[in-house]
Symmetry: C2
Subunit: 149 residues, 2 copies
């Protein structure tokens, strides 16, 4: 097995992204950050993760420039973990996970959360893949193509 | 730590989805399936995963009804792993991973793949979160709300 070749030295952006985000704890922490969580103790309350797991995942997310460490906004000694621009760009991904979960992982009548627009209180639209002209396309109508950025 | 409470008996669809998809190998296998890979040996060639890892991940994806096992279409003895409807619904998620990777994990000049529409050869549109009326919204303009399905 060649871990590097599979996930890092690859031309596939899905593989490189998966090396960072293919981890359930990392996904939970990014989710919590979008919900306004910033402190270690609050991440711990929300995820119920063991301290060593939380420490290693937060460190990795900082190393990957998804979270940045900032002094607490209230002047206290606690540091805050806040999403960087790169981290904020994960919003559609977290919404995709949410919508797939909503539709596929709950029984009828089971309570769950949905994501609503603050201004209209209506659920956000279902995320779809569209082509350049705005038409919805499925996997059969797309293919990978090599490019140099 | 209460693993069940965090990922399974939770009202959060992101958590339930992450329990299944927060695994880099699972994401690689779903990616490969969208690229037309169906056989164990081809998943192995593509991911370079060790056999035991591949076996456990494929089994989990079948157990979760993301992959289904089918007799080979060419009449050979090999079985095929094909995406179910639930698995195909992961297309936007894989495209989100891809686009985030494309934009954030490659240096200028580094070769990578992009996803293009077969009919126009143009890159698929950037995935965004929209509200019910089609306006693009960011994380600040949305919030979680509890519902019963």
């Amino acid at each position: 097995m060649n871990y590097e070749a599979t996930f890092i030295n690859t031309e596939c952006p899905v593989a490189r992204a998966s090396a960072i985000l293919g981890d359930k704890w990392a996904l939970m922490l990014v989710r919590d950050a979008f919900d306004g969580v910033t402190r270690f103790s609050d991440f711990q309350k929300s995820t119920l993760a063991a301290k060593n797991i939380l420490t290693s995942r937060l460190k990795k997310l900082v190393d990957e420039d998804i979270f940045a460490l900032r002094p607490a906004s209230d002047g206290s000694a606690y540091q805050q973990y806040v999403l960087t621009e790169k981290g904020r760009a994960l919003f559609p991904l977290i919404v995709c996970l949410r919508q797939w979960g909503e539709e596929n992982l709950f029984h009828p009548g089971e309570t769950h959360s949905i994501l609503v627009d603050n201004e209209t209180d209506a659920p956000v639209a279902k995320i779809v893949v569209r082509n350049h002209q705005g038409e919805i396309i499925g996997p059969e109508r797309s293919r990978r193509k090599r490019v140099i950025k």
